[in-house]
């Protein structure tokens, strides 16, 4: 590895660390908090869930880095994918809203809602949410949600596209993804801990906030299609 490549990776890692605390905690933090707040019936600690979720997310970043680096173009990959990313954002927001309402006690359960709406996207979401296999569930969740549209990730992918190849692109996005882990990990652990500690009205209030954030995501997703 050359000094320049090492400098690139250090910069990507630093961008992830700083962006994780600032950008990601505001933009993606609510999603992590939403999925972490649920009182889980499945086996596995909140630590294992956070590790698996972040492993999935970083893997997606790395694969995207390899793709744009190999092709040498960010636009060739991101432009055709963008519409699907915003559809994913809208669906994620809808799921968050359903989960939040479930936590708040407004509906009997998010899974019951998902049962009644057997659309393809919700079917995938349902399999992620109610799967009893914790490894598949949280790893898959991270892999899928790593595809959510994110301005900071886009910028890093633009850099990865110009990094000169598949491996440098992958490594750059791996470094960036690893950099974002501490902040996302912290949010997940705090939200998971809060979900277990909080009782009664406060827990339900947290659910209402999750539902509200879900609606914000739905709005942002739909705003893309409306050209707002």
């Amino acid at each position: 590895m050359t000094g320049l490549q090492a400098a690139d990776l250090t910069m990507a890692l630093t961008a992830g660390l700083l962006g994780g605390l600032g950008h990601c905690s505001g933009m993606c933090g609510p999603i992590v908090a939403a999925f972490s707040m649920r009182r889980e019936e499945d086996k596995g600690s909140s630590l294992a869930r956070a590790v698996l979720y972040n492993a999935g997310r970083v893997t997606t970043y790395t694969l995207l880095g390899a793709l744009v680096g190999g092709l040498g173009s960010f636009v060739a990959v991101a432009a055709p994918m963008e519409g699907a990313q915003y559809a994913l954002m809208t669906a994620t927001g809808a799921i968050m809203a359903a989960m939040g309402l479930s936590i708040a006690g407004a509906i009997s359960g998010a899974t019951a809602l998902l049962e009644r709406h057997n659309a393809a996207v919700l079917g995938v979401a349902r399999s992620l949410l109610v799967s009893r296999h914790i490894i598949i569930k949280y790893l898959a969740l991270g892999l899928v949600l790593g595809l959510l549209p994110c301005g900071l990730s886009y910028t890093m992918l633009i850099g990865a596209a110009g990094s000169g190849g598949l491996l440098p692109g992958a490594l750059r996005m791996l470094a960036f993804g690893l950099g974002t882990v501490p902040a996302m990990f912290l949010i997940g652990m705090l939200a998971g801990g809060a979900g277990n500690i909080m009782r009664g009205r406060l827990y339900r209030a947290g659910g209402a906030v999750v539902a509200l954030m879900g609606l914000v995501y739905v709005y942002r997703g739909l705003a893309y299609y409306a050209g707002l």
Binding site: G19, M27, V75, A79, L148, G151, A205, G206, V209, L212
Partner: protein, 139 residues
């Protein structure tokens, strides 16, 4: 509701408001980057093509210096794109000196899912000194 619950509830609301309002911070009034000839500040003209300027596609960024003594002869410039109020990472590109006083380079403006469209383009010389800055909005 106990005092502790009340404090916790207020904390949740404050954190939520910060999360919701964080992406909507706005910077100064932007110039119209889609106007013919681009934007000019203190003898430095900045333009992006093709027009209308769009995010998520390859754009050509051009800078014209009315006063060429602003930068060393035959040296290139750098363009640093940032979004006021939002950490969008380092999006820096090289603007090659294509002829005296004219600089050009290719790059991509990413889209922010928060809906923010305001960007700040900082034109830097080889010593990373900012010689001009432009605020503009991109769809």
């Amino acid at each position: 509701m106990s005092k502790r619950d009340l404090i916790s509830a207020i904390s949740v609301i404050v954190i939520s408001l910060v999360i919701v309002l964080y992406p909507s911070q706005k910077g100064p009034r932007p110039c119209d980057i889609n106007q013919k000839g681009g934007c000019t500040v203190s003898g430095v003209t900045f333009s992006i093509e093709p027009r209308p300027v769009r995010a998520m596609r390859e754009n050509v960024f051009r800078v014209k210096l009315a006063n060429q003594s602003l930068v060393p002869e035959n040296s290139d410039l750098a363009l640093h794109l940032t979004m006021p109020g939002m950490d969008m990472g380092t999006n820096r590109m090289r603007l090659k000196n294509i002829q005296p006083g004219w600089y050009s380079g290719k790059g991509v403006i990413p889209r922010c899912p928060s809906g923010n469209k305001l960007w700040r383009a900082s034109i830097l010389d080889i010593s990373a000194r900012e010689i001009a800055a432009f605020h503009f909005e991109v769809e």
